[in-house]
């Protein structure tokens, strides 16, 4: 009779246990509630114009969230995200002000960012540096590069030659939505596909869940970790380009603190900072909650300071909720374990 409990959980239970679907649903509920509250407080919240703006605010947070989620799922962290955003912004802007074709500049920028990603991956996976330290180093380096490319000045305007670039990354629209939104959506689809449907994605989860077990099963954990850092670098690069296109110039402190916003978007969406668990669907929820709070509180007239405090509280509470749920799970697991042995 006591064996009944050690049987496999129900189908639905299994579905929800996998990858943390439960937290995604919780976050989705939270998002709906927030939208309803802000909608009631301020009917303009749901106006077409605001929704468009809101989505455009969410897009970059979603992108860096995707990158950080990849890295968190491998059981690591990427602190260099914000600096890579800044580096991407400054490198591309500097090249464009020097008269380089914008698309060539974009390609060069992408390569620079990928180098940082590969470096992160090598330091962490190959040389076993603690990810916090390794990416703290590259964070400082990338910020330094952002400062040095234009001799410690923000750049001038990237000029009329870059109108096509600005149109593509910022103010252009397709089907009524800003391009920025389409770009992040497209990248989300690609990276979500990779994470959920390909062998690389599976290896990323396995690496984060139990690196040694993955290695013994023939998974190349160095490759999977490096790939995750490269995804993060690509996402940060695109955000840097968006920032550049938005302001029409390069700013040295672009992307400041973004690495932590990315952590927030990930964990609100249920990505575990301990690795092995999380869904990019959750990152969408996390980034949206972030954006809705920013936007809604702004609408409600709350000053920046209050916005910061509210968002900080949300981050802590969402993770706290998760911890409480998990410790209950752990308790049940132990009970089952005791049952398993006679």
């Amino acid at each position: 009779m006591s064996m009944d409990d050690s049987k496999s959980p129900s189908r639905l239970g299994r579905l929800f246990a996998a990858r943390g679907m439960g937290q995604v649903v919780t976050a989705a509920f939270g998002l709906v509630i927030l939208c309803v509250v802000f909608g009631i407080l301020n009917p303009i919240f749901f106006s077409g114009r605001n929704v468009g703006n809101l989505l455009r605010q969410i897009a970059p947070i979603l992108l860096i969230g995707i990158g950080q989620s990849y890295v968190l799922i491998t059981g690591n962290i990427d602190l260099s995200i914000g600096s890579v955003v800044g580096m991407s912004c400054m490198v591309s802007a500097t090249l464009m002000t020097m008269g380089m074709n914008p698309w060539v500049a974009v390609a060069v920028t992408l390569i620079c960012c990928l180098i940082v990603g590969v470096l992160n991956g090598c330091l962490v996976a190959k040389f076993n540096l603690p990810p916090f330290i390794a990416t703290l180093g590259t964070m400082t380096i990338a910020r330094g590069i952002a400062q040095i490319v234009n001799n410690n000045y923000n750049t001038d305007s990237i000029g009329p030659a870059a109108e096509g670039f600005r149109n593509f990354f910022y103010y252009g629209r397709l089907g009524g939505l800003f391009n920025t939104i389409w770009i992040s959506l497209a990248l989300w689809l690609v990276f979500n596909f990779i994470l959920s449907r390909t062998r690389l994605g599976r290896h990323i989860y396995a690496t984060g869940s139990n690196k040694e077990a993955a290695r013994l099963s023939g998974v190349d954990v160095v490759a999977s970790t490096t790939a995750a850092y490269m995804v993060s670098a690509v996402c940060s690069c695109v955000v840097g380009l968006i920032v550049c296109a938005t302001s029409g110039m390069g700013t040295m402190d672009a992307g400041n603190m973004y690495e932590l916003y990315a952590v927030a978007a990930s964990v609100i969406g249920g990505v575990s900072t301990l690795g092995g668990q999380g869904l990019l669907l959750g990152t969408v929820m996390g980034a949206s909650i972030w954006g809705v709070l920013q936007n809604g509180l702004q609408f409600a007239g709350a000053p920046v300071a209050i916005r910061n405090i509210v968002i900080g509280v949300i981050v802590v509470v969402s993770v706290l909720l998760d911890v409480v749920v998990r410790s209950e799970k752990r308790r049940r697991k132990r009970e089952r374990k005791e049952e398993a042995k006679g």
């Binding site: 064996m3 989860y205 099963s217 023939g218 006679g342």
Partner: protein, 505 residues
């Protein structure tokens, strides 16, 4: 091609200057089960890790199917058809059963993961093994014994021709062990070669054809199982004879030390009452889910209690956290050494000192390093822990020596009651005997000893009084003299009636 599918010749391996293996040879034929035996730290796991490509050998030759292999890697081993089930569970707990089984060799359909196919194939493997688990269950939600079965399924699903099982049964239930033996026999009949490592010597008769014995990293002997006796095997392993399997000392019963009344903690501990007296070892027997571990955890303050009274030497105790229990003189030797027993990334010295820092306090609350060193030396000597140096990480010890370390760190301090939860799991015959002697010694010193075990012969052989638990309740109690396996089993299966009628107890 020679008659052997695996030949290891003169294999040597050192860790930081300490010889773990010295000129060891081993041969495996196809269609046989070879038992690899030896004390804790004899080098069994190390040898198998060399065969599996996880460690590289310093010297020696490896031949697989007659082919000499220069550089063995996990990947190469897999290609050669070698599958190793390691002593420590190695699963990605966040992934599902099927995902774990196919990890590293996922099935693809037009470049995408083919989860449907993998689930179907995993279900086939599981049903061949008689394991009742859905392939899309997340591994972390399974009990340890089921996880172990998944690990076995994973190894078998590779269609390996050479299978290494490093203590596969230490976490399994008796039904699962039977299923496993069934599988082993059928694999053997299909021509696979199986190397089987276990400290449960009584298992061997069911499956084993030949035995190879190691001692202190050296090769001792290989014999056919039917040509040898258990006594011979043991003396080869230990280097001397073990006279009594279950040494027993008689001591007069004294005062009651610990009295537990109506202890309740969740579903797993319901109204448990018992007492512990001077001069006796109380054994706790039971089946799956009997709540024994839960009971000790609640008693020790590791889990919250819902109610109940605890009296130590007739004084009521309030135990809300482990520190309360330790201060009162109750210590717990937990069953899961990796998770609850040791800080595996700390050194042996630090592990021994950790619960005893109050004793080792020097001036200004620093740790008295001389006292610490002496304590470690004493512990290592008393329990004959096999180590190269007390500064090595606890997880570099062999499995059985880790277990001894968990016991040792508590025995280094003064206490009144010790709760042993499966103290002999995964340790060799000689070390088992040492633990029994130790318990007897504690008993004669008038300390309270509570001893949980799932091995019937052991509990019948050592305990003076046996409590049987089932479904979180105490369902029986026998003095050692009158207890039998049948009686214990009868009580251990006395589940509550589904209608809610209490079973007569």
């Amino acid at each position: 091609m020679s008659e052997y599918i695996v030949e290891l010749e003169g294999v040597g391996k050192s860790f930081a200057g300490i010889r773990a293996l010295d000129d060891v040879s081993l041969n495996l034929k196809s269609g046989e089960v070879l038992a690899l035996l030896g004390e804790n730290g004899a080098g069994k796991s190390t040898l198998m890790k060399i065969l599996g490509g996880i460690y590289t050998r310093d010297t020696g030759i490896i031949r697989v199917f007659g082919e000499e292999i220069d550089e063995m890697t996990p990947k190469r081993a897999k290609e050669l058809g070698i599958a190793v089930i390691h002593q420590e569970l190695n699963m990605c707990t966040h992934l599902t059963v099927a995902e774990n089984i196919f990890l590293g060799r996922e099935l693809l359909r037009s470049g995408m993961l083919d989860d449907r196919e993998m689930n179907i194939r995993a279900a086939e493997v599981l049903s061949r093994l008689n394991i009742d688990i859905a392939p899309d269950t997340v591994v972390g939600t399974l009990p340890i014994s089921k996880q172990q079965m998944v690990e076995i399924a994973k190894a078998l699903s590779t269609n390996a021709r050479i299978l290494v099982m490093d203590e596969p049964t230490s976490a399994l239930t008796s039904k699962e062990i039977n299923d496993l033996f069934h599988i082993i026999r059928s694999l053997r009949d299909q021509g696979c070669g199986i190397i089987y490592i276990s400290h449960r010597l009584e298992e061997l008769q069911h499956i084993v054809d030949r035995v190879t014995i190691l001692r202190d990293g050296k090769y001792i002997a290989t014999t056919r199982f039917c040509d040898t006796t258990m006594a011979e095997i043991i003396s080869n392993m230990v280097g001397r004879e073990i006279k009594e399997k279950f040494p027993r000392v008689e001591t007069p019963l004294g005062r009651t030390i610990l009295r537990v009344k109506g202890l309740n903690a969740g579903r797993q501990v319901r109204n448990v009452s018992f007492e512990l007296r001077e001069g006796e070892i109380v054994g706790v027997a039971g089946l799956m889910g009997a709540g024994r571990t839960e009971m000790t955890r609640a008693l020790f303050g590791a889990d919250p209690k819902d109610g109940g009274e605890i009296l130590l030497d007739e004084r009521p105790l309030r135990i809300e956290k482990p520190m309360d229990a330790i201060e009162a003189g109750i210590v717990l030797v937990p069953e899961d050494r990796k998770k609850d027993g040791l800080c595996t990334k700390l050194s042996i010295r630090e592990n021994v000192a950790l619960p005893n820092l109050d004793i080792l306090k020097g001036a200004l609350s620093t740790v008295n390093s001389r006292g610490e060193r002496e304590m470690v030396e004493r512990t290592v000597k008393n329990l004959s822990i096999r180590l190269s140096n007390a500064e090595q990480n606890a997880d570099s010890l062999s499995g059985g020596n880790q277990q001894k370390l968990v016991v040792g760190k508590w025995l280094a301090r003064e206490f009144r009651v010790v709760l042993f939860d499966e103290p002999t799991r995964g340790i060799d015959v000689a070390a088992k005997a040492e633990i029994y002697h130790l318990m007897n010694d504690l008993k004669t010193r008038g300390l309270g000893v509570l001893f949980i075990s799932s091995e019937m012969p052991e509990i019948l052989g050592i305990a003076d009084r046996i409590i049987v638990m089932c479904d979180g309740r105490v369902t029986g109690e026998f003095p050692a003299g009158t207890a039998t396996q049948e009686k214990i089993l009868e009580c251990a299966t006395r589940f509550e009636d589904k209608l809610g009628l209490a079973a007569g107890d």
